[in-house]
Amino acid sequence: MNFLLEIGTEEIPHWMIPGALAQLSKLDLLGAAPEVDATPRRLVVWASDVPDRTPDREEIVKGPPVSAGEKAAAGFAKKQGANPGDMAPVGGYYELRKRIAGRSAVEILGESLPAAILGIQWPKTMYWTGGKTGPRFIRPIRWIVALLGDQVIPFEIAGVKSGNTTRGHRELGSASIPIAIENYEPELRKNFAILSSEERRRKIESEASVLGAKIDPDLLETLTFITEYPTAIRGDFDSAYLELPAEVLTTVMRHHQKYFAVESSPGVLAPHFIAVMNTKGDPEGLVKKGNERVLRARFNDAHFFWDTDQRKKLADRVEDLAHVTFQAKLGSYKEKTERVLALVKELGGNEHAQQAAMLCKTDLTTEMVKEFTDLQGIVGGLYAKAQGEAEPVWRAVYEHYKPTSMEGSIPSTHEGRIVSLADKLDTLRGCFSVGLAPTGSKDPFALRRAAQGVVKILVEARLDYSLDRLASGDLRDFLIERIQHYFREIRGFQYDEVNAVLAAGVTTLADIEDRLTALAAIRPTDNFEPLAASCKRIRNILKQAEFQPNGAAVKAELLEAGPERDLADRLAGFVREGESDYSKRLVKIAAFRPQVDLFFDKVLVNAKDAKVRTNRLTLLSNLLTEFSTIADFSEIVTSGDQK
């Protein structure tokens, strides 16, 4: 049978809707596969082929022994709610064949749906009725449609009874629309609610594109989930505002007004914007006029901020940072600036980098950043440029928050990279030192992102600072975690490769990257995994023998001719030749495989003669040491491993 559930709510925050739908797509519908979609005011689940009832079944309940007599059997039957005649002796016991009737799907769903609906996990919930013990949901539930075929699945949540009446668009639709499953979507459409988020997305994209919008995918997604009936319109602004930096104009349009920007040519803004309404049209142009008015006020503000801010140069604002809190326990941004500057010097930053470090936080005292916080750094860079700072300085300030995401790019100049690195490291060191390290999912200071930025800059700019120079203790462990994450998730290396390389030594990140690249290249070759398995074996042998390498050389006179001597000679040759290129070195190591195999085949490590045994363990230990400079192969998961 066809099934339809519509949870009618007040407007749900757009960014939470996809998560809720993912959960609803796992709704238990007696085996039928749920399909889901939503608008800001309705979460909808539908399915076909929901069975109308579960099948009848029989259950056998073991009763008293036959020896207890018929009276006992009758008593048992009565207790089970059955007739004495249903009891039959089987193998010395009475058995009751209990027939359990299947239940109707309407009944089952009527029981299960309320808990399933209220069980949706949201980032933040509220209560609205029945005090704090009342039901919690993302926003108040105002109506519920629940149908199986043409039958209402009866239940109640927060005083709202399920039924077969939906509501249309707030202004354009009817507030009470009786529906059947078959005409649900068409009825909604007639009432100006487009259920399909995909259709709304396409409608916005095509209308906005026709009007000249530069489509921003994140904004498109937002608009898809804050509208039930999206319609794009184009508005204009005075081209005099184009004097303001494009970054400022775009931020105002994009973040504050949710408008798409329009470009006259790539990278050049045109004096227009595209707004997406939640209604069918703007025949009198009132919506256009209203939006233009708001934007004008916003741009005027920005203009006013720009002019006001220029009255005091960034260089004269460093002192003012004493009044801006960085973090209660870590003091003001002035103190942070001093620390970042010291760190930039320590990292060998040049004069331009030092000047940028000095200025990079001063835009926090500007009116522009107080209003448009997303533009911190960028505004500082633009002001520094306007105030005649050298290009490496203003660019470093402009980009010092980069990278802002895992995918984002790192600062484009060396100066910018040093300042960004120092800024993030200072935040991490500071927070870790006062006990503000992230715990579980809680990371109020976005330290994971900061650490990710540190890792990205160190690797991608191939900066020559070893990790141990930059961090110690818990922070070092935290950065190691981010390094693992980065190489696995962003760069696609296998987790055991990353572990193997880190186990062989934590150096500079560029070096770690080189070793990883070489390791991943050699890994698919024939000799590699068997050799890795042998390394694991060697490690176990050394461990079992409790062998402590004392730096002694292998004693040639104790070597047995054949595989043992061959292996020792080969190792000596390998050490003598040396090889610093990681790929070549790994190729040479992999080529040891036949000798190693033969050694294990023919030579008994655990020799009776203690001197010979120690010599053999020394040989293996030296071998492992030589092999492990790039990666600890015993970390490599091979086909012989469990799991």
Binding site: Y127, N278, V294, L295, A297, T325
Partner: protein, 288 residues
Amino acid sequence: MDYFQDTVFKLKRYWADRGAIIQEPYDVEVGAGTMCPETYLRVLGPKPYRVAYVQPSRRPADGRYGENPNRLYKHQQLQVILKPSPDDVLDQYLGSLEAIGIDLLKHDIKFEEDNWEAPTLGAWGIGWQVMLDGMEITQFTYFQQCGGMDLDLVPAEITYGLERIVAFLQGVESVYDIQWAPGFKYSDVRLADEVEFSKYNFELANVDRLWRLLGEHEAECKELLKAKAPLPAYDQVLKCSHLFNLLDARGAISVTERVGVIKRVRDLAVGTARVWMEQQEAARQEAA
């Protein structure tokens, strides 16, 4: 065209028709209509309540000497509290927009997530900013906690930004061009206020004296709380809160002091809410 005062009359009439008491503004300085006892204290406890009032709200740091067309040191909020919130509260709210002449079929209305929080009051709620043709005209909040306490009946709080709405209705670019009443513009009524108070807030206020006053009002509040007099105590909380805002506008609160001062005000506010609740509870038991 409706004058500023006509729009106020219409909104008051609209909510009066829906059972709200029409209160007058509270006579102690507040930063928002929420801080008036008619909201802060009335939302606590199990008694239903409905009230609407205009509240001039002072935010010293927002002053712009009357030079910015949209920013004011003191703006007027029309505050509505519906406790408990009726099921059709959003429809009622939209009806109020129709009542002041906004034809919803010709405009674009969106409800965008905006959760409200006031740390100094131990209060927060869930809700939206209501956008009319891209302009925020109302803050709508379902209160969840106040004075650090969960609420028995969840109230809806509707806060209209009157200057913005009327500037929109009258189609003027600057709030100062709003026609307040026949022959009087907003600037005639309020510009001098903005200029002089901006000067006071940013330049003239005597920082040492403000600090002393903060201490005095705090002491008064504590004594009143001991005497179980929550309503007079709450006036002292509001005085402290306003003094904090003034000191902040003067740039007189250092980084280290800031958190501490916020906590001092919050402790007073939460303490007052507790005493008020105890008093209500006692009265209820006596009645029962």
